[in-house]
């Protein structure tokens, strides 16, 4: 369909220079935000050194542009023999080579910045055995599609020849599943299509603390600045004034708290709605194609064999709406963060059942031998949190009066103890012949499922105290990161440990 010869080295789209430049600038800005803006908060600095700082920033931006241009020039890719090769790096050159049989998936995406420059992002997913995931930031869409076609053609060929050679050898699962993807699109069915109403419910039941945190950071950052600026213009001494108008101040404070709460609420809900806008999950055989997002449309594929951990979560509000959130971790070259998990939010229990059975090849009803976290763990949590509520108390003592300090500390202690009780009673591990189920949560409830043969290694961790009182933390490593179960009885932990090792070592299945 195109006449681009990918066997010679290619560069990204010319517009890519600007895209790379802006993306780099954004990255640097994020990284050095506080370093750059903290000085502006000080009046002395603003008066004396502002010009130098601005000049410095301009110089840095120019250097960054040169660097971005060089990195554009040095970023080249080609198809060579039976691999896709990328050469990159200005100072530290590196060559990444992906053999065709390792290619699991090819995604083409476009975020806002890419839309502005009329380019698309091109991503090659691999099995995550090493740092061999490739992201080309800027290709024009014709080239991207041509490259995708070309790669898929090659991959098909490799898979076919593999099949003929090793058909007796129980053809390796990743190739055959890719083949299924390439050839069979007809068995697609929609598992989940999130309506706006249900999306709103998901937003309403998300964790507002996150919104509060974001807002607090933001306001804390600009609050200082505003105070500083205002006192320059208006001749008020804020602290003096506040004391004189206590009644007004109190109602003002109540208003501020109210507005703050509303803002945090709105922020949380809209962030969720933007992120998961028009979430669609399409089942193709046992793999799932997920697409979502309002500003940045993201397409991801949940591969049956690449899936490591499936986490099923709900909280009281979600329960009320009769929906749940599911997060999937896939094998990855680096530890997966919460953000990188693929979220199937607003899923009903019935839909989850279908998903579970497709991913694990097991009936949804599973019996687990359950091991509970010891209530001693509450003591550990108590010591970890003591700083926080004692801090509350001290703050109350100094800023209001001793009684308030005592009340604050007491309320903090009660609140944390209640949470800790919830945390400990929900923390457990369930095990059966095929699956590991890790329960956790506090207000929310979370169950993580791992197929036993996906376990990479296991660890028992015991502090001095645990060695005395006969407990241990159990830590399980998969190709997407680690899961830990705190404070279980040592003898039971050893039994779980031996059993998991036995299952991994006797299993004929590969981890992918």
């Amino acid at each position: 369909m195109s006449n681009i010869d990918f066997s010679v080295l290619q560069r990204q789209s010319f517009n890519g220079i600007f895209l790379i430049f802006f993306a780099d600038i954004a990255k640097q800005f994020k990284r050095f935000f506080y370093a750059i803006f903290a000085p502006f908060l000080s009046e002395n600095f603003r008066n004396n050194y502002q010009e130098y700082l601005i000049a410095g920033i301009i110089v840095l931006v120019i250097i960054q542009f040169v660097f971005s241009y060089l990195s554009y020039l040095k970023y080249q890719f080609q198809i060579h023999k039976s691999a896709f090769i990328v050469q990159k790096g200005v100072i530290k050159r590196s060559v990444v080579e992906i053999p065709f049989h390792r290619i699991q998936n090819i995604n083409i995406q476009q975020n806002i910045l890419q839309q502005i420059f009329g380019v698309v992002g091109f991503q090659i997913e691999t099995a995550g055995e090493s740092a061999s995931e490739i992201k080309i930031k800027a290709l024009d869409s014709a080239t991207a599609n041509a490259l995708k076609e070309a790669l898929l053609d090659e991959v098909k060929e490799v898979v076919h020849s593999d099949e003929t050679i090793s058909s007796i050898e129980d053809s390796s699962p990743q190739n055959s599943s890719l083949q299924e993807d390439l050839t069979q699109e007809k068995e697609a069915s929609t598992l989940l299509h999130l309506s706006f109403g249900r999306l709103l419910k998901v937003g309403l039941s998300s964790n507002y603390l996150k919104g509060f945190g974001l807002l607090a950071l933001f306001i804390g950052g600009i609050g200082n600045f505003v105070n500083d600026v205002l006192s320059n213009f208006i001749e008020v001494d804020f602290e003096e004034d506040l004391v004189h108008r206590v009644p007004e101040t109190l109602s003002f404070l109540a208003l501020v708290v109210f507005i703050f709460t509303m803002l945090a609420f709105l922020l949380t809900v809209s962030l969720q709605v933007i992120k998961y806008f028009n979430l669609k999950v399409i089942r193709i055989k046992d793999n799932f194609e997920v697409s979502y997002g309002l500003l940045k449309r993201i397409n991801q594929v949940i591969k049956k064999n690449k899936t490591q951990v499936v986490s099923f979560e709900y909280n009281p509000i979600l329960r009320l709406f009769g929906i749940n959130n599911v997060f999937v971790s896939q094998a990855s070259a680096s530890e997966i963060t919460e953000k990188q998990k693929i979220g199937l939010v607003g899923i009903t229990s019935l839909q989850f059942e279908e998903f579970f059975e497709a991913i694990f090849d097991l009936p949804f009803q599973q019996k687990f031998a359950k091991t509970q976290t010891s209530f001693r763990y509450m003591i550990v949590l108590f010591w970890k949190q003591i700083v926080i509520w004692v801090g509350f108390g001290i703050a109350g003592y100094f800023f209001i009066n001793p009684i308030a300090g005592f009340v604050f500390a007491f309320l903090g202690l009660i609140g944390f103890t209640f949470l800790n009780y919830k945390i400990v009673s929900k923390s457990h591990v369930g095990l059966n012949e095929h699956l590991l189920k890790i329960g956790s949560g506090s207000i929310n409830t979370k169950s993580e499922f791992v197929a036993l043969y996906k376990i990479q290694s296991v660890q028992l961790k015991r502090s001095i105290f645990q060695r005395i009182n006969g407990h241990a933390d159990l830590i399980i490593y998969t190709a997407s990161g680690s899961q830990s179960i705190p404070y279980i009885n040592y003898n039971e932990a050893v039994e779980l440990f031996n059993f998991m090792l036995y299952k991994v070592e006797s299993s004929k299945l590969g981890w992918i």
């Binding site: 490591q308 091991t371 290694s457 490593y477 009885n489 050893v494 039994e495 991994v504």
Partner: protein, 177 residues
Amino acid sequence: MNNKSIEFSNLSISVDELPDFKDAKLEPIAKKYQILLWLNLVLLSLFFAGLISGLYYFIEDFPRIILKIAAIVFSLIIVFSAIEIGKGFPKRKFGIRELDIIFQKGFFFFKETVIPFKRIQHVEIKQGPVLRLLNLYSLKLYTAGASTGDLVISGLHLNVAEKLKAKVLQVTEDEDE
């Protein structure tokens, strides 16, 4: 081990018949490796001491209270590290079973890690500059995916490291056939 603790009622094998990783024979790593740990600690303390006394004598405006707190915190860190090295070193041991490799270490937090050979992707024998002076090596075992699951056994003699590597690779290859 008491039987009543967990009931694996629906399992086809009895838990008691499973090989217990506690029975594995473990070997300590090379004694010389302790020198490196102590050396690190000495360098660290010198660095802290230099930093704090430098600030104390050369920058008069620097708040004294911060320096005092820092000094206390740093000396606590150093004391605890010293205990960790002294008490923890004898606990650094590794062992090989038919199908997996075991490594344990730590005093304040005693960690026992087991990696089945078939999950090891890649083995590397490394030697840093200080290890070179001591003529010791470290063995790094890579598992799939995130690097959190990787295991490093430091302070091995070359012949031990090579034997371990050969054993790991041989079993991995057997699995592939």
